[in-house]
């Protein structure tokens, strides 16, 4: 499934949303912001002001296209590479920096309140997504859950178990595989002998489709269709978004240990931001000035978010006892007091 080819040429009828300038530019802006955010996060990490960080470089269309297809009251369950989706849905850059900076408060984002936080243990959030979808179905709501995860996640039992129940209970959920071809150093070909990841849906009796994950229009369109079906009691869909991890796995990784530069360079020709820009330019919707002002605006937003993040006062150590239970059980209260009594001043 592709709407815009590598050169940004239209190869399939544009869906309605893509005909509206504001909408298509919103998608473009979100991808550019996603990229700027990633770059800043890496910079903060390199200078010791953020923890290990997983950039989504090159995969912005998957994140943004998916989120753009969702209604506000749908629920997103992202993996650790879903910054673009989270930003689109209203999580702020400050909140994201805060989480990746090693502060749980970043997960207490002001909106969307029902979305799940980033999931680090690969694939373990996919069962949550079917639980969320089941709650929606039981209450007769016209909402759906959307779960994004990587190609590596498709090797975990959690993935299959969740797909299976989504099939047999006809749950309103959309599974999106951000197939960026790598699970750290393990290439997609070493992950499974299935010709496509989409075909894994057959095991659960679900429809599975492949989408060009570097084509944000195709991404948004396919997820929208899947969501429409889910909300109309038509059940779940598995979407394999084909893209490429342009950067290292995380800031703790050095991809040059295990993959060829040539492979990476090749994929620079396919990446989503330049592609959509080409389209916009060809369609006369985007000028060099638009581009410059957008870049400037994103840079400014990112910088001020970073500053706001750096300015957040630290949490008191004893807050590690907050929110563990609804109310603090007695033995924990004793530990909390002991901690306060022994507390060494901040270094």
């Amino acid at each position: 499934m592709q709407v815009l080819d590598e050169n940004g040429a239209v190869v399939k009828a544009l869906p309605e949303f893509a005909k509206e300038r504001t909408q298509i530019i919103e998608l473009y802006r979100a991808m550019v912001l996603n990229r700027a955010f990633d770059a800043k996060a890496i910079a903060l990490q390199r200078t010791g002001r953020l923890g290990t960080y997983a950039s989504s470089l090159g995969q912005e269309a998957v994140a943004v296209g998916t989120a753009a297809a969702m209604a506000e009251d749908d629920v997103l369950l992202p993996s650790f590479r879903g910054h673009g989706s989270q930003l689109w849905r209203g999580v702020t850059m400050v909140e994201l920096f805060q989480f990746w900076g090693g502060d749980e408060r970043g997960n207490d984002f002001a909106r969307p309140r029902q979305d799940f936080p980033v999931c680090i243990p690969v694939a373990s959030h996919i069962p949550h997504a079917v639980g969320v979808a089941l709650a929606m179905q039981m209450r007769g709501e016209r909402r759906a859950a959307v779960c994004i995860f990587g190609d590596g996640a498709t090797s975990k039992g959690d993935f299959y178990e969740a797909l299976n129940i989504a099939g047999v209970w006809n749950l309103p959920v959309v599974f999106v595989i951000n197939n960026n071809q790598w699970a750290i150093s393990v290439p997609r070909s070493a992950q499974t002998a299935a010709e496509t990841l989409a075909q894994k849906a057959i095991a659960a009796g679900l429809p599975g489709i492949q989408v060009d994950g570097n084509d944000v229009v195709a991404m948004r369109y396919s997820v929208e269709q899947a969501l429409d079906r889910a909300r109309a009691d038509g059940g779940a869909t598995l979407i394999e978004a084909l893209t490429y991890r342009m950067g290292d796995h995380t800031t703790a990784d050095d991809a040059s240990r295990y993959r060829d530069d040539a492979d990476v360079s090749h994929h620079w020709k396919l990446e989503p931001v330049a592609r959509l820009r080409s389209y916009l330019q060809q369609a006369g919707l985007w000028t060099r000035e638009d581009e410059e002002s957008l870049l400037k605006e994103c840079a400014k937003d990112v910088e001020s978010a970073a500053q706001a993040y750096l300015d957040i006062p630290g949490r008191s150590p004893e807050s590690i006892f907050d929110h563990l239970y609804y109310s603090l059980p007695a033995p924990l209260a004793a530990q909390r007091s002991a901690m306060l009594a022994e507390q060494i001043p901040d270094a």
Binding site: D108, I165, L324
Partner: protein
């Protein structure tokens, strides 16, 4: 007031909770038309319908993971894991998600779910049907581990577990599922999840246990009583978070303590209790704290299982050793 067995009390509590709270739902393998392999969910399908009483496919990890999603959305899933030998695939979801969803989102998302599971040996069940790995769960911060040992405690504690805003692993001692009937009022009253239960009062010795071993422990206390030795018998009931006051109070009084459980000794939860005594009641202790437990071997198949599990005799002989110190 109905006179019910422990498993019937579980059933009664489930029905009461479903009746009074629409968000409570039951799921698991064979919990529907079959009413659960031990009949704990018997009749619920008929009363509450297939929307709220759900037979799942055969996948324990999924049952736990899906429950988390449901709970985060405001439902109150009460899921059954059929036997404790099959509970281990859920540990990942419990450690990494259920127990810390509230914590990692600073209270934004919560996880009020109950995982019920029969546990323990002594019913001549097949391989892998007799495990007691409660200690693994009791080491998970953010989780509650609750073990009832009588019909009335099963009823009240399960209602509390379902009403609790946090995840609870609720382990049911299946050997005594039908051991005794008790009058239990179906009044919907929960038993708070921060207490332990003093089942017998005495002066000379503290016996501490939980689950099915309550039976052997009381039996032991009766044998000892015939010798003029009186015991406090404490059913811990809630293993985590452990409110140790009743235990400490008792041991400061008696100065002697025997801890009984069915699980293997090493790393068992008896160690936690003995350690708390070694820290907080040390100066009252008149004798070594002895643990009478399953051996550090695999729970054997039925032919030898009774040799594996603590007996009243083993408890008595440990008690006598303790009492011999002066």
């Amino acid at each position: 007031m109905p006179e019910v067995t422990l498993v019937e009390a579980v059933n009664m509590a489930l029905a009461k909770a479903m009746e009074s709270d629409d968000t409570v739902m039951v799921m698991g393998e064979d919990v529907g038309i079959n009413g659960g392999v031990f009949r704990a969910t018997d009749g619920l399908l008929g009363r509450f319908g297939a929307r709220r009483v759900r037979d799942t496919p055969l996948s324990e990890a999924l049952i736990a993971g899906m429950s988390i999603g449901l709970a985060a959305q405001g439902m109150r899933p009460v899921a059954e894991i059929q036997f404790m030998g099959f509970i281990h695939p859920i540990i990942d979801q419990v450690v990494n998600h259920a127990s810390r969803l509230r914590y990692r989102t600073r209270g934004r998302l919560t996880c009020p779910m109950v995982l019920r599971c029969p546990f323990g040996g002594g019913i001549h069940a097949p391989e892998h049907h007799s495990e007691s790995t409660e200690a693994m769960f009791a080491h998970i911060p953010g989780l509650r581990v609750v073990i009832p040992s009588s019909p009335s405690r099963a009823y009240g504690l399960l209602l509390a577990a379902i009403a609790d805003p946090d995840p609870v692993v609720f382990l049911e001692p299946k050997r005594i599922y039908r051991a005794k009937r008790e009058l239990v009022e179906d009044d919907g009253k929960p038993i708070p999840l921060d207490c332990s239960f003093v089942l017998r009062r005495g002066e000379d010795l503290t016996l501490i246990t939980w689950g099915a071993m309550v039976a052997e422990t009381i039996e032991a206390s009766e044998i000892l009583a015939a010798d003029g030795v009186t015991c406090d018998v404490i059913d811990v009931g809630i293993l985590n978070p452990l409110g140790p006051n009743a235990i400490l109070d008792s041991v400061s009084k008696t100065g002697r303590c025997v801890i009984v459980h069915e699980a293997p000794l090493t790393g068992g939860y008896g160690g936690e209790i003995a350690a708390q005594l070694a820290e907080h009641a040390m100066m009252s202790l008149l004798a070594p704290v002895i643990r009478v437990t399953g051996f550090d071997s695999v729970m054997p198949l039925p032919k030898l299982e009774r040799h594996y599990m603590p007996t009243a005799n083993r408890i008595v002989s440990a008690a006598r050793k303790t009492l011999a110190y002066s």
